[in-house]
Symmetry: C2
Subunit: 347 residues, 2 copies
DNA sequence: ATTAGCACTCGGATTAAATGAGTGCTAATA
DNA sequence: TATTAGCACTCATTTAATCCGAGTGCTAAT
């Protein structure tokens, strides 16, 4: 059996209606809702076909139809025309902010507010190289190491050294560290390099140890996939997501950044490169997701680094709106990075 | 009517049993549960008295009794002997961590894990004075300001300056800033001081503007009451907390650090100085709290700064355990600050 | 003062019946 | 041949009726 134009229209009407109401939709509704001018009986026949083909099911005999995962999939892929960008709020969705971290937090928040779903945003991931290191003496036994890595991510590390250092010593260390480490990525810092530096640091070699591990820590930190989330509690607004037990587990997943980063990495790894990915029900990774969908979008930094914006919501989700909002947001982000944040460009 | 010893015993038994089971407790249960050797009939009479006095109520006729807020209050104040410190896990509840932020996050996490309630921890609050400022050139048009404030809280601020500065200029600024700002608190930085600095900065006065506002921002940031939370989803484990709608609002309060900080400030302002405060039901601030209790404890830094640890749970809460855990935790924190973190001590 | 005994209450669980939205199928129609 | 009107049937949901038992309050006996 094939999916002719009329069947598509009906399927689309069913899904659209279901997305709106959340109730199984019956033949009579479609008969009136659409401009097909068909009786409910005819619709019923078509529905039976659509069911046989696997696009819709009845939750029980004598109920209307609801979309299957396959139905949603077809809808997202072929039926849903992504309303040609609604310029509206696109303009100043995001206020200008100066620091990457704040920006991304803001993105998560705005998105959660606009969509009423739970959102997550990862910082762009790329091999981070050291741009600049600054060591300073804070007090008697503490050195402060400030490390700026590519992308103007700033890490601080207090290092407590046993030996006293005067200002000149610190200056020497600064020069030494910058000479060796500027432009280096985490992998570049190996035993060999450490040896070379030790050789040049003379009597202070033992102290270097401390300083070094501090710095490596900091770079390591910067390399971690940072995730910002918002609106987790929105999940509670959708009663269709299983029992409380499941919902609660879902929320915990959301609270645990580690788990979440796995999850995001998994979705991204499946990406086909078109920018926006939609994962419906079982398609999504994670065990409590059968009633959820995940939509992710990828934004790019000028140097090629990529980050992800994602939303998590019920399977019965306003895909049109979500996809659209996500599209606009990535465009806006791309633009911001192109000009504003384009600072971080040398290599 | 007065509360004789027997009535106290019965009240205590009722509350203890209710805390355990969550079910209204009947006269027969008490008759067997306690060593009073009284018949259920006698207990019933006593219960009637206790109800009249306002310590317990029946959810409905022909049900057992449950404690009122007043009953809980009496229990917490007079009945509950705080099991003389259970030394057990006290030992290494907290792993040693180097940075305040991580430490407090850890505290929140451990506490949430141990108690199964939602927890919040605020950073110690005191007038933060500038300890050290470091300006460095990151690239062509960015200056990085690193500000270390009392308590080794470190803030970074990227400042983009329009004019080019060479290393010497930066050095001069550094000296200027440190001369003026070291030891200054947010209030100390006033128009007068700014004028004085401008006078001394000669041709660079306009740039100072940028740098200055950046620094003020950073100090302002550091002065904000930082809150770390954990285990918010634990709230979902206690079905007695009203309907989902309320729970969800409670969770939102928990997600919103601003609201939460108001809430904590309110509880702390009511504190009587004994260290541990218990807010039962209506006593707690916030509108969705009627079924909740809040327990807070105050920890002190050597210099007198104070922070708060709090837990939020259902009114039917294991007060004994919570109060105890909180006590141990503050003691441990106090100790950590006394030695380990005692770095931040000069003025 | 305590207790045994008994009638009474009322929330919660269980069962039964009523409702109604929606289906599938068949026969009539264009 | 495609569409539609009509009708019997299904089944989740709602409403009402009933039962059950934990627990009470009161009274009379110890």
């Amino acid at each position: 059996m094939e999916l002719d134009e009329r069947k598509k229209k009906i399927l689309k009407a069913i899904i659209a209606n279901y997305l709106e109401t959340g109730e199984p939709v019956g033949s009579r509704t479609i008969s009136k809702y659409t401009d097909l001018n068909l009786s409910s009986a005819t619709i019923r026949n078509e529905m039976a076909d659509l069911e046989e083909m696997g696009y819709i099911i009845q939750p029980h005999t004598s109920a209307g139809r609801i979309p299957t995962d396959m139905g949603y999939r077809f809808y997202v892929d072929s039926l849903m025309e992504e309303k040609g960008d609604v310029e509206e709020e696109k303009s100043s969705l995001l206020e200008r902010v100066d620091r990457m971290e704040l920006l991304l937090k803001q993105v998560a928040k705005v998105l959660a507010y606009n969509t009423n779903y739970a959102t997550m945003v990862t910082a762009p991931k790329y091999k981070k190289t050291v741009k600049f290191i600054q060591l300073s003496r804070v007090d008697m036994d503490n050195l402060l190491a400030v490390i700026v890595v590519e992308g103007n991510i700033i890490k601080n590390k207090l290092i407590d050294v046993k030996v006293e250092l005067d200002n000149e010593d610190v200056l020497k260390f600064n020069i030494l560290l910058n000479t060796f480490l500027q432009g280096a990525s985490l992998e570049d810092i190996n035993l060999e390099m450490i040896q070379a530096m030790k050789a040049q640091s003379g009597e202070y070699a033992p102290i270097l140890e401390d300083i070094f591990s501090g710095i490596v820590d900091a770079i390591h930190d910067a390399n971690e996939l940072e995730i910002y989330t918002s609106g987790a509690t929105n999940i509670l607004k959708y009663p269709e997501i299983g029992d409380i037990r499941q919902t609660s587990e879902l929320l915990e997943t959301f609270e645990d950044k580690n788990e979440l980063s796995h999850l995001i990495e998994e979705t991204v790894s499946k990406a086909d490169g078109t920018g926006i990915q939609v994962y419906i029900g079982e398609e999504a990774p994670g065990q409590n997701m059968k009633d959820c969908s995940i939509v992710t979008a990828t934004y790019k930094m000028p140097e090629g680094a990529e980050g992800t914006i994602g939303i998590l919501g019920p399977k019965r989700m306003d895909y049109k709106k979500v996809v659209n909002t996500l599209k606009n947001l990535t465009i806006e982000l791309d633009e911001i990075f192109k000009k504003g944040e384009g600072v971080n460009n040398d290599g």
